[in-house]
């Protein structure tokens, strides 16, 4: 009996199938923006050929922070405490500089309880991809406003938010993060390109991804609903990403496109939708973000990129081998060192 050999499953450049980037079954609400972000992370990691074993997934507390369980089961993961993921990520990267740290946080986890650690993570430019799954409300505690809720946004209960939002992107840029952008969980193409570029970047990546909460903040009057975001989204650029292992497309309009060469030789192509926007200009980025608030826009795109700034790990001047695996011969000085230290104290 003749048998037809099963078709070889499609693999990426390191020979893994997309299934090997999957996680557990999501327990978030059907239609939650966070699930779409998990999907984009899986795609981006697969497309970039990142070895899952090199990735660490880190999170705080909240719906967003549960999501690392729903992608990349072959990566170590740490669901830590509320608002404190940045410090855990920092520690992990100090221990093992070869890791790729992917931090997933939410707007409550970042902009309220975690604002202190968020700020200091940004100013260190630690190599980490920090994603805020931003829906403007606390989901797990059933729908209270968070600090990224827009002025005038309305809760289901009718409560109006009368405090201005914290713009996490503006803060990140001001503080020293070197790759800062905002996207939308419903914008598959833009988010994918930004995530791939984030993987190629050396330094702190801060992506604020508006990710509507279908249960508590997707109604009329909310400024974080699918409808509101679709109606008010303004993209700064059309973003495409050419990884270093693919041939460079020479066919692009240099006048209308900003091309950013990443550390690994990848290219980030930003086709300008706003003529004069230069994503390497911090001051311009801050101005544009302020304008967006004034105009009621949901501004998306890559706001700021700096591929030159040293990372925190570089500043620490550590040995190349991860500190975690250094042998005793390198971490315990010899007897003569103790003798010398004792002599100084005599």
């Amino acid at each position: 009996m003749a048998t037809t050999p099963a078709a070889e499953p499609k693999t990426n450049r390191i020979g893994l199938t997309v299934v090997e980037y999957k996680g557990g079954k999501t327990t978030l609400c059907a239609g939650c923006g966070h699930n779409a972000i998990s999907e984009r992370i899986i795609e981006a990691m697969y497309d970039m050929g990142v070895k899952p074993e090199r990735v660490v997934k880190l999170s705080g507390i909240g719906c967003s922070s549960k999501s690392p369980a729903y992608f990349m089961n072959r990566s170590h993961s740490f669901n830590s405490v509320h608002g404190r993921m940045p410090s855990v990520a920092t520690g992990a990267m100090l221990a093992n500089r070869d890791l790729i740290a992917l931090g997933v946080s939410g707007d409550g986890d970042t902009a309220s309880i975690g604002i202190g650690q968020f700020i200091h993570l940004m100013r260190r430019n630690l190599p980490v991809i920090y994603i805020i799954e931003d829906n403007g409300v606390y989901g797990l505690t059933k729908g209270q406003f968070s600090a990224t809720a827009d002025l005038g946004s309305k809760l289901k209960t009718g409560v109006i938010n009368d405090l201005p939002p914290i713009d996490t992107c503006a803060m990140a840029i001001e503080l020293g993060a070197t790759f800062v952008g905002r996207s939308f969980s419903g914008d598959k193409r833009q988010l994918s390109a930004m995530l791939k570029a984030a993987i190629a970047h050396h330094g702190t990546v801060m992506l604020d991804v508006v990710s509507p909460c279908v249960t508590f903040n997707d109604h009329e009057g909310s400024t974080k609903s699918y409808k509101y975001v679709k109606d008010h989204e303004e993209s700064l650029q059309e973003i495409s990403f050419v990884p270093h292992f693919e041939e460079i497309d020479i066919d692009y309009d240099a006048g209308a496109t900003v091309s950013v060469t990443m550390h690994d030789g990848s290219h980030l192509r930003l086709r300008k939708l706003e003529e004069d926007y230069d994503p390497t200009n911090r001051i311009r980025a801050m101005t544009r973000l302020t304008e967006a608030h004034d105009k009621g826009e949901v501004l998306t795109g890559l706001f700021y990129v700096n591929t030159k700034a040293p990372t925190f790990l570089e500043m620490l001047n550590m040995v190349n081998q991860p500190l975690a695996t250094l042998p005793e011969s390198l971490t315990r000085p010899g007897r003569e060192a103790l003798e010398a230290a004792m002599d100084e104290l005599r």
Partner: protein, 612 residues
């Protein structure tokens, strides 16, 4: 060598007949920020170099400049280096406190004061010496702006002359203090010599106190506990240090930075460590946990307020089973007031730090050499038991100068605990993170980055099963909590054992720990010599308590638990562990004035409680 003459002392005029040798405490009262630290260290070292056991204790305010500060040097031929309550020789340099300082002395003490203070009319049962410091310092220090700094060195010379401290040793100590600054050394030496010469020509020795050469310090070192801990952590193979400045722990990490730069940077100029000043203690402990989880030997150093802030994370580390070492240099309680005074006030809060069912391993050093040695033990225990280990030092130990034998090179290898590597996983196929395969409550872990598809596991707090899968099942939770308890029980046989010292057929036991040790050993001799009270003594070195602690309590009718807090925190912790019938044997001797425990306070209280 002469010993103490027992001649009676009466009034100031007749004090000259008495001769007390190598048994005194010298207190220097100055103003914070006046640069007296160098002078005090020189005086301390000069006595030490003459072979006399010493200790130096700095009682300082929470202030940079302007508030009063006292430095007390104790010289004791018998080797008692705890605090002595009575001051025998006062160097009064601070006009603000001079009157109170003089009034609080016992009769027979000596007072050396700055001439304009005119203290000699205050009392007639003390010996007074006055020195015109400004005149003397002007003569040796032409540069006016340096005079304030070298003025204090003048009293070193005066004290040397009055106590008969060898000026050769003073010079040696000055040269060491200003090792690379030859000009400064010469200037200070001139100031000390001016004081010495003035005293010789103008002061009539009438006090009872003398320093004579002996041979009890040969080969010894002088160091503070924080520096000893820093060295210990370096030799323990620590790789990640995160910290937030807080008195009295800051100097631990600051000294460690110096040592690490000297001994842990390779020929290629690259560091085998990372030291990060965090934004607060929350971040410091978070980084320790992140680094410990990812395989580093990580640590932080803090004090009580920092411990409080670390509470939530400490619970996470307990439940998620992440190693890390935390040095708690204990001090007096919250906010402003006495943050620069010593205490053993964090025992209970640290033993159970966090919410839920948590308990932590505590190591309790009493000496600088234990600060050094327990560093290696702490890291090994943390990795063996995959949990936080707290080392409970205090301000008295951490920041004061202690005489010690040189430290022994660590003989125990660095043990990384149950970590599965790629090769292990290839053999095993996979693993269950929280499964108790060996019956000791400790599971096997993998480090992030391990290059095997089965290496990863999900780390989270309270709800997980053996395979680290998310679970809210009652049986999974209960099983896990019971296993964590088993792990803690296993730790009981691995933590440092107590040190026990027996008297002759004693019915009374004393339990103490940390720096209370120094008051207690002296007090035991006082109790025996003055009251005929024999005592046995157990010095706790760790929590959980080992078998010996229970046995010791069973062997004695009454147990006095001596500690430096109000509520008898260690006594409370013991109660939780003891059989009900043994609990009533415990009595508390609690000391809580913010000053290091002195022997006399223990002797007075214990003898009183014994009805003597």
């Amino acid at each position: 060598m002469s010993t103490t003459d027992v001649a009676r002392q009466d009034t100031g005029g007749q004090l000259g007949r008495k001769r007390i040798v190598n048994d005194m405490s010298i207190q220097v009262a100055t103003v914070n920020g006046s640069g007296s630290q160098s002078s005090n260290t020189v005086l301390l070292r000069a006595i030490f170099q003459m072979g006399v056991p010493i200790s130096g204790k700095n009682l300082f305010p929470s202030n940079i400049a302007g508030l009063p500060t006292w430095y007390t040097i104790r010289a004791n031929k018998d080797g008692y280096i705890g605090r002595k309550k009575e001051i025998d020789f006062l160097v009064a340099m601070n006009p603000e406190t001079a009157r109170d300082d003089v009034m609080s002395l016992d009769a027979g003490a000596s007072v050396l004061y700055d001439e304009p203070l005119v203290l000699d009319k205050l009392r007639n049962d003390l010996v007074f010496y006055s020195v015109p410091y400004d005149k003397l310092v002007a003569a040796v220090c032409p540069e006016a702006k340096l005079r304030k700094l070298v003025k204090n060195m003048v009293y070193v010379g005066v004290v040397a002359q009055l106590l008969e401290i060898d000026m050769g040793e003073v010079e040696k100590a000055i040269r060491k203090q200003f090792s690379k600054k030859v000009k400064a050394a010469n200037l200070n030496l001139a100031a000390a010599q001016a004081g010495f010469d003035y005293a010789k020509a103008n002061l009539e020795k009438r006090g009872a106190f003398y320093i004579e050469r002996m041979n009890k310090t040969a080969g010894k070192i002088i160091v503070d506990g924080n520096s000893a801990a820093a060295l210990g952590c370096m030799f323990a193979g620590c790789t990640v240090v995160t910290w937030y400045p807080i008195t009295p722990s800051s100097s631990l990490v600051e000294t460690m930075i110096e040592y690490m730069k000297e001994y842990r940077i390779g020929p290629d100029g690259k560091a085998t460590f990372a030291i990060v000043q965090a934004e607060d203690e929350l971040a410091a402990i978070g980084m320790v946990i992140g680094a410990g989880w990812a395989g580093a030997r990580s640590m932080t150093a803090t004090a009580g307020p920092g411990i409080s802030l670390m509470s939530e994370f400490a619970g996470l580390a307990y439940y998620a089973e992440v190693p890390g070492v935390i040095w708690d240099i204990q001090r007096v309680g919250p906010s402003t007031g006495l943050p620069t005074r010593t205490s053993q006030g964090d025992i209970l809060t640290t033993a159970f730090l966090s919410h839920g069912d948590t308990k932590h391993i505590l190591l309790i050093p009493c000496s600088v050499s234990e600060c050094f040695g327990m560093a290696s033990e702490a890291f090994n225990l943390a990795e063996q038991f995959q949990t936080l280990v707290f080392v409970m030092s205090d301000l008295d130990l951490g920041m004061n100068n202690w005489m010690s034998d040189p430290f022994d090179y660590p003989t125990t290898p660095i043990k990384r605990g149950k970590v599965l590597h790629k090769e292990d996983l290839e053999k095993l196929g996979g693993f269950a993170r929280y499964k108790d395969l060996d019956g000791d409550g400790v599971g096997y872990r993998t480090l992030p980055g391990t290059d095997h598809p089965g290496a990863a596991y999900f780390t989270r707090g309270s709800g997980h099963n053996d395979h680290s899968g998310y679970s809210e099942r009652p049986d999974d939770y209960e099983n896990n909590m019971e296993r964590l308890n088993r792990k803690f029980e296993t730790a009981r046989s691995f933590v440092p054992r107590p040190e026990i010292s027996k008297g002759a057929n004693a019915k009374i036991g004393i339990i103490a720990y940390g720096t209370s040790h120094w008051g207690v050993i002296e007090s035991r001799d006082q109790l025996k010599n003055e009251y005929g009270i024999e005592t046995d003594y157990l010095r706790l070195r760790a929590y959980p308590f080992t078998r010996e602690v229970h046995e010791f309590i069973e062997q004695h009718e009454r147990i006095y638990v001596v500690e430096q807090n109000r509520d008898g925190q260690m006594l409370s912790l013991l109660k939780l562990d003891l059989k009900p019938e043994l609990i009533t044997r415990l009595r508390s001797i609690a000391h809580l004035d913010g000053l290091p425990l002195d022997a006399r306070s223990v002797t007075d209280e214990l003898s009183n409680m014994e009805g003597k």
